[in-house]
C-alpha cells in the first residue's frame, strides 16, 4: 500500500534528521528533568501525591511543546513543503509521518521522565503509563497539525503554546484523572479524545500545508 510506504519514508526521514541534528531530543530530556527538579522546589513540604502527579503532566505537556515547536522547522526554513506537496503522496501522509516521529521523541523523553519522577516523587503505576501513552497520541496528532500552522507564521515559538494549550486541557484532565486512579473512564476519555481529534487532524491537514 503506497500510503503506508509514503508515511514510513517520511517518518524515517524525520527520525534520521533528528538523529543527525541531535538537538531536539537531548533538549527535551534535559528540559523534563530540569522541570521536575524545579517542581520539587515549587511544591511545599508534605504536598500530596496527586499534586505531584499533576505537575508530572504539566512537565510532559511542556516537554512535548518543546519537541513540537521544532517539528516543521526544517521544512519551513528550507522551503521543503513545496517539494513535498508536489509529490504524488497524500498530504496527510506528511502529517502522519511527522506525528510518528514526534511520538517517538516524546516516548524517548518519557522513558527518562517517568523513572525520574518515580525517584524524585512517588512511584508510577501501570495506569499512569497507559494514560501517558494515550495522551501522547493525542498530543502528537493535534500538536503536529498545530506545529505546521505555527511555523507558517512569524512568532512561531510564541504561537504554538497559545494554539496548543487550550486543546491540551482535556488531555491533562484525562491524564491526571487516570494517573490518580479515579477510574477507567478517564482512560476511555483519553481514547475518545485521540479518536476525535486524530481523525479531524488527519482530515484537515491538507488544507494547512498547501497554499492551493
Amino acid at each position: 500500500m503506497s500510503y503506508a510506504s509514503d508515511v514510513s519514508a517520511l517518518a524515517r526521514k524525520d527520525l534520521l534528521l533528528e538523529l543527525r541534528a541531535k538537538e531536539t531530543l537531548p533538549a527535551m530530556l534535559i528540559f523534563v528533568v530540569a522541570t521536575l527538579t524545579i517542581f520539587h522546589f515549587a511544591l511545599p513540604h508534605g504536598t500530596g501525591k496527586v499534586a505531584a502527579l499533576g505537575l508530572l503532566w504539566v512537565a510532559l505537556v511542556f516537554t512535548a511543546l518543546l519537541g513540537l515547536t521544532r517539528a516543521f522547522v526544517a521544512e519551513r526554513e528550507q522551503g521543503l513543503f513545496d517539494a513535498l506537496v508536489l509529490t504524488p503522496c497524500d498530504r496527510s501522509a506528511i502529517w502522519l509521518g511527522k506525528a510518528i516521529a514526534v511520538f517517538a521523541f516524546l516516548v524517548a523523553a518519557e522513558v527518562v521522565a517517568l523513572p525520574a519522577f518515580s525517584i524524585f516523587f512517588s512511584g508510577v503505576g501501570g495506569r499512569t503509563v497507559a494514560a501517558v501513552a494515550l495522551a501522547d497520541v493525542g498530543i502528537c496528532t493535534v500538536g503536529t497539525l498545530l506545529g505546521a500552522m505555527a511555523v507558517a507564521g512569524r512568532a512561531r515559538e510564541l504561537l504554538l503554546p497559545l494554539l496548543f494549550l487550550p486543546l491540551a486541557v482535556p488531555i491533562v484532565v484525562g491524564g491526571v484523572g487516570a494517573s490518580a486512579g479515579a477510574g477507567a473512564r478517564y482512560l476511555l476519555f483519553l481514547a475518545l479524545y485521540d479518536a476525535i481529534f486524530g481523525v479531524l487532524s488527519w482530515a484537515v491537514f491538507e488544507y494547512v500545508v498547501a497554499e492551493v
Binding site: S2, S5, D6, A9, L10, K13, L16, L17, R20, A21, A74, Q78, G79, L80, D82, A83, L84, V85, L86, T87, P88, C89, A210, E211, V212
Partner: protein, 191 residues
C-alpha cells in the same frame, strides 16, 4: 501544456500579478524575466501548481509530471545527497530507484559525495543536487526559478544540457537571461 487566461494574484491587498495571458506548448521554453519584486517567483509557483490564482484560469499538466526548483534547492540540509534522493524517489514511486539516482548523481558530479550531508556542500553543489531532485521523476514540465544560481562554469554546462532537451517543456525565470536566451521559444517580461 500550459494555458493561462486573465491570471491575477494578490496577497491581502497587495497585487502581485495582474491580467496575464500566456500559453506554453509541449516542448516549449518560456523565459520569464523582470526585476526583483516583479512577481517572477509568484508566477512560477502558480505555474508549478503550488499556489492558486486569485482570479483567472490556469491549466496545468498533472501534479506528478511537474518538477519545481525554487530559489532554494529544496533538499534537506541534514540528510546526505543519497538520502535526499532516496526519499523523493520513494515519494515519487520511481521504479529502479537506485539506478536512476546513481545515474543522476554521476551526471551532475555528485557521486563521490553522495554520503555527505548537504549542509557540507557548497551552494553550487546544493544547486546541482536540486537539479537532480527535480529531474528524478522525469517530469514533463520543468519550472525553474533562477536555476543558474551559484553554479560554476561546469555546473552551467550541465544546466544547459538539461535545458536543451527538446522533449521537455520549460518555464525558467532568471534575471540573467544570457545563459538561456537562445533556447527560449517565448519570452515574458514582468514589470
Amino acid at each position: 501544456m500550459i494555458a493561462v487566461r486573465g491570471l491575477a494574484k494578490r496577497y491581502g491587498d497587495r497585487r502581485v500579478l495582474r491580467n496575464l495571458d500566456l500559453e506554453v506548448e509541449d516542448g516549449g521554453f518560456l523565459l520569464v524575466t523582470g526585476p526583483n519584486g516583479s512577481g517572477k517567483t509568484t508566477l512560477l509557483r502558480i505555474l508549478a501548481g503550488l499556489v492558486a490564482p486569485s482570479a483567472g484560469e490556469v491549466r496545468l499538466p498533472p501534479r506528478a509530471t511537474i518538477g519545481y526548483l525554487g530559489h532554494a534547492p529544496l533538499v534537506y540540509r541534514e540528510l546526505s545527497a543519497l538520502e535526499n534522493l532516496n526519499l523523493f524517489g520513494r515519494l515519487y514511486r520511481i521504479d529502479e530507484r537506485a539506478e536512476r539516482i546513481g545515474m543522476l548523481l554521476e551526471r551532475f558530479g555528485l557521486w563521490e559525495v553522495r554520503h555527505d550531508r548537504v549542509a557540507t556542500f557548497s551552494r553550487g553543489m546544493q544547486q546541482r543536487l536540486g537539479l537532480c531532485r527535480v529531474l528524478l521523476h522525469e517530469p514533463k514540465l520543468l519550472v525553474l526559478d533562477e536555476p543558474a544560481n551559484a553554479l560554476d562554469a561546469a555546473g552551467l554546462e550541465l544546466l544547459q544540457e538539461v535545458l536543451a532537451d527538446a522533449m521537455q517543456t520549460f518555464v525558467v525565470a532568471t534575471h540573467e537571461p544570457q545563459h538561456v536566451e537562445s533556447l527560449a521559444t517565448a519570452r515574458l517580461a514582468l514589470a
